[in-house]
Symmetry: C2
Subunit: 139 residues, 2 copies
């Protein structure tokens, strides 16, 4: 039975964010004192920490909420969790690959620019660059 400030400290989720999670139904609201203040028990603090860990791993709030539901359910939810996790892992790998392509393109874009020429090839490439047509007709 601790205050929201203490729950924030113990879960690693900021006070405003805790209230936001409650408001949007990511976690259930805790009991209230007579004066209306939130009173957290350890199960609720664990839930908050659970959500934070999911967010740190890049899960969306909706996914985090689903996972929390699975973790709190009676039945064996391992397969469901696996499936969500695999899906998410694929998303992460897609993002990494996209960013690596960006990185390559950026390096390419900036490479010939180190000599102070008349015109900036970086800006010129962005302005006039290759393959201007759209939408891509393949695929």
């Amino acid at each position: 039975m601790v205050t929201i400030g203490e729950a924030a400290r113990r879960s690693g989720v900021g006070i405003e964010l805790i209230r936001y999670y409650e408001r949007t139904g990511v976690v259930a609201g805790p009991e209230r004192s007579q004066s209306g203040r939130r009173q957290y028990q350890s199960v609720e603090i664990h839930a908050l920490r659970f959500i934070r860990r999911c967010r740190d791993l890049g899960f969306s709030l909706a996914e985090a909420k689903s996972l929390l539901g699975l973790a709190s359910s009676e039945r064996l939810a391992c397969a469901d969790a696996q499936s969500l996790g695999q899906h998410h892992l694929e998303n992460i790998r897609t993002k990494i690959s996209d960013l690596q392509q960006m990185e390559t393109a950026m390096v390419q874009l900036m490479r010939p620019c180190d000599a102070g020429k008349q015109e900036c090839s970086m800006l010129d490439t962005l302005l006039e660059g290759p393959e201007s047509e759209w939408p891509p007709q393949d695929k």
Copy 2:
């Protein structure tokens, strides 16, 4: 002198998004016909394509706008563009590194789960897992 629809097709920026960019000052608004319709010239279409390329490379709208300003300016802006680009490249690399850490953590999290046990170690780890305290007192 083409319509917004044609400008969208040629720049690869959707109609609604073009209007959004105009509204928020990312690009200047084009001339209007007597009846109030936007009329795009090639310089404006180039600007839109420029912004799209920047966005594809992960630049923020603010950065894209700055770069467009540099590209449109009289003076030699290569150094400024380089600096923005380097900064952005670092951001990309940081994001890649963060995502790679996420990936490792996800793989770790899901690894022992492939045998159908009594409890799901993935969910258990998220619930009870190691190093629960917060905030991190280092740094």
